[in-house]
Symmetry: C2
Subunit: 428 residues, 2 copies
């Protein structure tokens, strides 16, 4: 907040496509899709119309003993569009609650199947899964958790992939996900107490868009199966087309026990989240009232009809008219043109997974020495971006691009050019 | 879910005023305001229009480094309408997150002011403050927490008011909140480790609409001040007019350290929540970037502009045109006519706080013996209600009324009559 004494927050008044406008009429390219949520651009006529149609019927009704068509449609579509093992959907409001639901279901499942010692979760270093205290207990970034450490669940942090600074000194072409070893050891050592392992598949967002290969996920799946541990995929940031396919799990033929979705689910219109799981999990909660095996977790606005209506329309767009096919040239341009950032002397790495790209800035390209924290390189580039009409929001020294999927190839080039200029202006 | 094999969920298609309609055109009086959220009725023309106006501008934009008029307006209004000590507003998505934010701010405040041993919270028996694991750690109802007990924070449960079965055998006219004694002892004993005490002011909702007098809150405030402990008011269910005044704290001249709001904030349209606090708390987080004193808690859809726009319009209605003044005759009718439920031989107590009323059914009026859990008296009455066009949702053996505030006095009488008939049909 003290930063705002000198740099006031910008007051956004309108949105249109990939642009946001402030009160003075300045336009900003929404480089990070308003915290990774917007897929189809602001003020999308079809999404607006879908919302208005539902508004004419009913804005909200409780989701207990009651159902409604928007929720039924959305649940059926999510089940149809995700891997075959995922059959059941539980709605909540945001990414944190989607994760809390998966965690609670996993714990209760083990308890109700006679394996109540399974009460811990493993997460990766650099992981981010939300900030309610349960979700925060799965966080692998000190800054988010250190003030609350004594109040967090005792979980297990595991060193995961770190491709840019690979301790095994491997290149993508030679890598066999050797970095899975610490997770393998954790599963061996803690299998009696581990309920599940949670990951952000392929891209660790808050860690600085750190990317890793699907082979890691394949190894994780096999090891979790062998050790009787649930896998929880947090596709809150990467789901709904960001990586070029609808979901990471589906694209790579992976079958998580739980799949957490939010953010892009309404294309950045309204809060909504879903946690998907298997019949095997569901059936452990199914029984007579007197058995009290039910899952209890009730947010007032669960399955909000307005949000579900927007989500359904967004899915219609994403799955229709070759939408994902048409992403391919954009992904190619983002990669090819983005590569130009490698020319910068501070570019440690330019990396990309589908429509997500990032440049990690370093003080020394050869040693990969980091800029000092206090220098706030990212923050300076953020301010420079605002001057040049780009709303970026670097994570430390990582400048990243996760624009609405409807961005044009010209706009992608402009976005990269702007980032290039901003980095140079600040560091040169 | 197994119940639905014989009683399928009703499929709601439309809402209009205090009524919901299913696909077959059956109408149901929304007796519990769709989980205590709806204030102004379904499909309210002014709320719909406010939502549409904002939709034409922008549905959502991230709330970090960025602000927007709907959030500014809402924050300013909430500060103006709540007690003077509450000066700052933090937005999130639902009741659970509003509580998690208060808990995290309290913990971090004590840590940053050199009192890091304060890491526990006291809550009342019967308390409900949400179901993410942090919020669930403040729950005083076994059914919600027992499956997750080993994963919850270690807090302190305190026996609070229990007016219907008052262990001191007092009547309202003779009561001096003697039942505050256990809380007094808890504060004495744990003052070094207590960060805060959380309460649902006046009405413990999920406990079965258990009601208690404001004197308890006054004693709590004095004792917390004396023992250097924060007070957290969860007005998620009772705020925004339910008790006849806008907020319990304001009406009774109470100054909680934190005030958590959600549910009625958008009059039941969209998920939104706010946590209010004092300058004293805020200033402990204010500093140079390098000090890292900031509060970090970021939900993607925080301060969603659509939700804020609806909340602003709802507040305009609640605070305009003698809206609260016009509630008084309704509150009177609810009390006078509701008293007729006392005639039922199973009525242990009919109780009321403003526009919230409840009848607690007992097997024996004299001994107050409860109906056995397995008999599912409430569930049978719920089904009976559906047949008669009333969507009730009893809490155990407590049938309660928390209708949209726009309900007419005729509709109030019909609602009570229907409940009376349903109870008699099931128990006679």
């Amino acid at each position: 907040m003290k930063d705002h004494e000198t740099v006031p927050p910008i007051l956004i008044e309108r949105g249109e496509g990939v642009y946001l406008s402030d009160r003075e009429g300045n336009k900003y390219l929404d480089v990070i899709s308003s915290w990774w949520v917007n897929l189809l651009g602001h003020n999308h006529p079809r999404l607006n119309a879908a919302l208005s149609r539902q508004l004419d019927k009913v804005a909200h009704v409780m989701f207990a003993g009651v159902t409604h068509q928007p929720a039924i449609d959305l649940a059926e579509r999510l089940v149809a569009l995700t891997p075959d093992n995922l059959k059941k959907v539980f709605f909540s409001d945001n990414g944190s609650t989607a994760v809390e639901v998966a965690v609670k279901m996993s714990l209760q499942y083990w308890q109700q199947t006679g394996q109540g010692s399974k009460r811990k979760f493993a997460h990766l270093k650099g992981a981010y899964h939300g900030e309610t205290l349960g979700a925060l207990s799965l966080c692998g970034i000190d800054m988010f958790r250190d003030k609350f450490e004594p109040n967090l669940m005792a979980n297990v942090e595991v060193q995961g992939p770190d491709c840019f600074r690979c301790p095994y000194e491997l290149k993508p072409e030679s890598c066999q996900a050797e970095c899975f070893e610490p997770m393998h050891q954790t599963l061996e050592k803690h299998k009696e107490s581990l309920a599940g392992v949670i990951v952000e598949p392929l891209v660790q967002g808050a860690a600085g868009m750190k990317m890793y290969p699907p082979l890691y996920l394949k190894k994780l799946q096999d090891a979790c199966k062998a050790h009787n541990v649930h896998t929880i995929y947090d596709e809150i940031a990467v789901g709904f087309g960001r990586t070029g396919s609808l979901f990471v799990c589906g694209e790579h033929d992976l079958n998580p026990t739980f799949l957490c979705l939010s953010k892009g689910i309404t294309s950045g219109y309204l809060p909504l989240a879903a946690t998907l799981t298997e019949d095997e999990i569901y059936s452990a909660f199914y029984g007579e009232f007197s058995e009290m095996k039910l899952f209890i977790h009730s947010h007032s606005y669960s399955a909000n009809p307005l949000a579900c209506a927007v989500a359904n329309e967004s899915l219609s767009i994403l799955t229709g008219d070759d939408f994902l096919e048409n992403l391919k040239p954009k992904i190619r341009v983002l990669g090819e043109y983005g590569n130009k950032l490698n020319a910068l002397q501070w570019c440690g790495e330019f990396r990309q997974t589908g429509m997500i790209a990032a440049v990690e800035l370093v003080a020394n390209k050869k040693t990969k020495e980091e800029f000092p924290f206090e220098k706030r390189v990212g923050y300076q580039i953020y301010q420079e971006g605002l001057q040049r009409g780009a709303l970026m929001r670097p994570l430390g020294n990582v400048i990243y691009f996760i624009p609405p999927l409807v961005i044009s190839t010209d706009q992608i080039q402009m976005m990269i050019d702007t980032a290039y200029d901003c980095i140079q202006a600040v560091l040169d």
